[in-house]
Structure formats: structure tokens, C-alpha cells
């Protein structure tokens, strides 16, 4: 009885408080890092942590609601976490000249090609399966 009385407010806090939920995301990440180190897998801790969370969601051990607010906030502000990494350019002054321009052009053209090919492949396959499904439904 006593234990239940403590657990209920803790549960409520997890459902409502964004900061607590972000802490939970951090815990999954830390667990992923520890697992990566223990097993020697060449995977980032965040990805192992994500897999752990997904398995728990699917197995019913953890409700999505206890992570949703924190996750939404993290995903919305994710671009901020990339900002400091861009300053690594400061250490590569050789990229500020002609070579940098070439690489810039390469990245633009290549990325455009990758995006067009990926999107068109998926979309054409999508239209094909849709038509296929429709025909099967009629037959």
C-alpha cells in the first residue's frame, strides 16, 4: 500500500513533466552507450537506446505517453545540437578556398541527385503497389 502511494505520484510526474521525460531519454541513451561498450558493437549508443525503447513500446513494458512530450521537444529543437559541430570548419581552413567551392558544388549536386532518385523510387513503387492493390480489390 505504502509503495503504491509513492508510485502513483511518480507515475503522474513521468506522464506530465517534459524535463523528467528528457531525463528518461538520456537514461536510454546511457544504457545504449554502456551496451555498445560492453559488447564492442560499432553502433552509436543513441541508436541502441532507440532500439531498446522501441522493443519496450512493442512489448508493452513502457507507454509511449511517458516519453512523448520530451521526445517531441527534443525532435523539434534537434537542429540546435548540430550547430556546434559545424564550427569544425574552423580547423579546416584549406576548405575556405577554391577546393571548398568545388566540394560545396559536389555536395549540392550529389545530394540533389540522391534525393530525387530516392523520392522517385519510393513514389513510383508506391503508385505501382497502389494500382496493384486497386486491381486486386476489383478482381
Amino acid at each position: 500500500m505504502m509503495q503504491r502511494n509513492i508510485l502513483i505520484p511518480a507515475h503522474r510526474l513521468l506522464r506530465r513533466n517534459r524535463l523528467v521525460q528528457i531525463g528518461l531519454l538520456g537514461a536510454f541513451w546511457a544504457a545504449g552507450e554502456a551496451l555498445a561498450r560492453a559488447t564492442g558493437l560499432p553502433l552509436p549508443g543513441g541508436i541502441i537506446g532507440m532500439a531498446l525503447a522501441l522493443v519496450l513500446f512493442l512489448a508493452g513494458g513502457l507507454k509511449v505517453a511517458s516519453m512523448k512530450r520530451g521526445a517531441n521537444w527534443m525532435l523539434a529543437e534537434m537542429l540546435l545540437f548540430f550547430v556546434p559541430a559545424v564550427l569544425a570548419l574552423l580547423d579546416h581552413r584549406e576548405l575556405f578556398g577554391m577546393l571548398g567551392l568545388k566540394i560545396f558544388a559536389l555536395i549540392i549536386v550529389s545530394t540533389t541527385a540522391v534525393m530525387c532518385v530516392t523520392a522517385l523510387t519510393v513514389d513510383l513503387c508506391y503508385r505501382w503497389t497502389e494500382r496493384h492493390d486497386a486491381r486486386r480489390a476489383v478482381a
Binding site: 548540430f82 550547430v83 545530394t111 540522391v114 532518385v117 523520392a119
Partner: protein, 236 residues
């Protein structure tokens, strides 16, 4: 203590640069909301302003990142956060995974082939060309592949970040031009083409797009690490 000595204090440096990074990001976000031009995107404006400040104050990257590394580290928990949208879209993913797989394979092959060919055309060769190949995946994966195929992992990390920034902007333009019907294609485009930064952008466009982009980003990374030995064969 004089002001100059106080400025040299590592904790003060960390606080000042962290605060500057966050404030400039928020400011850039406001500006982009008001004038939504691709060249005003926060991921381009905020780092550019910070770089000007760092150059003006003669602060090296090492000094800057020592104080702001905790922000980059938050990418770990942010990756975990993708479990939520992926779980919510599980029905769609279960039904449509073959389409996503086809897009991922086509996209990854295009990334390696166009990077190699363009580098050849532009006269970029050796380690630099190899470092440019594994660009369309998130940094940890890219660095792993780069080392394996004989590139310079550090340089690859810079190219990956640049691809993310450029890709987030290019993605918007591609999205406006291509007559795409499915949200699957819109999400996959960002996930394969511009990994983390693109996924963050896709998440701003829509929940379904964000979930697909997140899933595809993770899977493309895994796929490329597994396929790195094949890429080496392709180059011989």
C-alpha cells in the same frame, strides 16, 4: 580578478559560448520564421555568425567545442526520441517497408556513385575523394565507413555536417519541384539525402515524414556500415 583573467576561465568560456550558441540559434529560428528563405535557415545562419565571432575573438575550434560539446552530446538522447514517431507509424512502416528498402538502396548507390564521379570530374582525388564518399548517413556511421575505405574520418565528419545543412535546404527545393504523392517518399528523401539535419527538417514538415526520415536515416547508416566492404570492391 581582472576581466581578461575571468574571460580565460574555462567555465566562463563554456557558459559564454553555450549561451551564445543557444541565443543565436533561437534568434536565427525567429528570423527564419519571419522570412522563410532557404539561405536564412538556422543551421546556416547560427554557425556562420558564431564562426565570425570565433574568428574575431581568435578562439579556436578546440576552445569553442570544449564548452559546447554538451549540446552535441544531446544528439544521443535526441536519437532515442525517434522511437516515439517510429512506434506511432508502425502500421504504415510494416505495410510499406519494401518501398523504403528500394529507396534506401537506390539512394545510397546514387550517393556513392555521384560523389565518386563528381570528385573525378573536379580533380579531387586520393584520401579526399574517399572521405567524400560516405556522406549521406549520420556521423558515427560515416566515420566508421570512411576509416574502413581509406578516407580521413575527421574530414568526413565535416562533410557529413555540410551535407546535412545543404541537404535540409535542397530537400525543400526538391520537394517543391517533384510531383510526389506519398509521405513515404517525402520522408525517405530527407532521411537518405540529409540524415540528421534533414530528419529534423522532415519532422518540422510533418509527423509522418519525420518518422519515416528517422527510420530511414538509422537503417541507411546500418546498411552502409554493412556494405562498406562492397564499396571497396567497387572502387578497385
Amino acid at each position: 580578478m581582472t576581466l581578461a583573467a575571468l574571460w580565460r576561465e574555462p567555465l566562463v568560456q563554456a557558459a559564454v559560448w553555450s549561451l551564445a550558441t543557444i541565443l543565436l540559434y533561437l534568434l536565427a529560428k525567429r528570423v527564419h520564421l519571419r522570412w522563410p528563405r532557404w539561405w536564412l535557415m538556422p543551421l546556416a545562419v547560427a554557425p556562420a555568425l558564431l564562426m565570425i565571432a570565433a574568428l574575431a575573438l581568435n578562439v579556436s575550434y578546440r576552445d569553442y567545442i570544449r564548452g559546447t560539446h554538451w549540446l552535441v552530446a544531446l544528439l544521443g538522447p535526441a536519437t532515442v526520441a525517434f522511437a516515439v514517431p517510429i512506434y506511432e507509424q508502425r502500421a504504415l512502416i510494416r505495410r510499406r517497408w519494401p518501398l523504403l528498402l528500394a529507396g534506401m538502396i537506390a539512394g545510397s548507390l546514387t550517393a556513392v556513385a555521384t560523389s565518386w564521379a563528381l570528385a573525378y570530374l573536379l580533380g579531387i582525388d586520393g584520401e579526399l575523394r574517399l572521405s567524400l564518399l560516405p556522406r549521406s548517413m549520420s556521423t558515427p556511421f560515416a566515420m566508421e565507413v570512411s576509416g574502413e575505405i581509406g578516407g580521413i574520418p575527421d574530414l568526413t565528419a565535416v562533410f557529413v555536417v555540410l551535407t546535412g545543412i545543404i541537404g535540409a535546404a535542397v530537400g525543400d527545393i526538391v520537394l517543391a519541384r517533384l510531383p510526389l504523392r506519398s509521405t513515404l517518399a517525402k520522408g525517405a528523401l530527407f532521411g537518405v539525402g540529409a540524415h540528421g539535419a534533414g530528419t529534423a527538417r522532415a519532422h518540422q514538415i510533418g509527423r509522418e515524414e519525420g518518422a519515416i526520415a528517422g527510420l530511414v536515416m538509422v537503417l541507411v547508416g546500418l546498411m552502409n556500415v554493412a556494405l562498406a566492404p562492397l564499396i571497396i570492391q567497387f572502387m578497385k
